[in-house]
Symmetry: C2
Subunit: 120 residues, 2 copies
DNA sequence: CTGTATCCCGGGGGATACTG
DNA sequence: CAGTATCCCCCGGGATACAG
């Protein structure tokens, strides 16, 4: 293969190739509940049941799935307390925290440029 | 209506309510090809056929659909030249350009924090 | 409490053909 | 050239039940 065409941008993530970093970031935080999950975990470590309450519109299955993917991507840490009944805490890793400014910027952009659509 | 509980964040977009700006932004740019389309259009105005070449992996249908949604969201301008054969040019609106820094940040985050996954 | 396993439905999105 | 229209398949994700 060729050696120094070597990619300004080619990134492999979870077996898929991306030519643009944006798409990778979207793959990581673009899931249906991921951004909100990260947003909440940025405030505080939460137990699974707390997340369930926060995201009462979704199912355990989806919540678990999104958390597992975030964990696999190294954004979320899952701490299991070996006790009965089980206790599991979710928190952000450094990598997870590092994406906060991006999320914040997305939030600000929405507020600024979609403000006309704010109900009131 | 209620006075100053008034929403830190409640935004209505395309008939859906969002409690978080992030999700609205994702609704706008999170579509399968939208971010890349915006990215390319930020460089230059492009005709439909040029976009087709750039996004040869997708179909006319999807490309059209994504462009229509971006247009409806006011990020992309569609200029039709009334001639035969037809000529249509797509470009960014001010609003479309305003999201560039966000996309750029997403790109940078991916490069910094997923660098270990860069193939080489 | 914190999950998995299973079933099942709707819609996103591809392939293809048609049109102004 | 720049699209629609149609068909159809796949799988994301909801509901529900079971499990350690």
């Amino acid at each position: 293969m060729d050696q120094n065409a070597s990619v300004n941008d080619l990134i492999v993530h979870r077996g898929k190739e991306y030519t643009c970093g944006i798409d990778v970031t979207l793959a990581v935080v673009g899931g249906k509940w991921k951004a909100s999950i990260l947003w909440h975990l940025a405030q505080e470590t939460m137990r699974f049941s707390e997340l369930q309450r926060q995201f009462s519109e979704t199912t355990r299955k989806m919540l678990t799935q999104q958390l597992r993917e975030l964990e696999a991507d190294g954004l979320v840490h899952r701490k299991i307390y070996p006790q009965v009944p089980p206790k599991v805490e979710y928190s952000l890793t450094d990598k997870g925290r590092s994406i906060y400014p991006v999320l914040d910027m997305m939030c600000e952009w929405a507020k600024e440029h979609l403000q006309d659509e704010i109900s009131g």
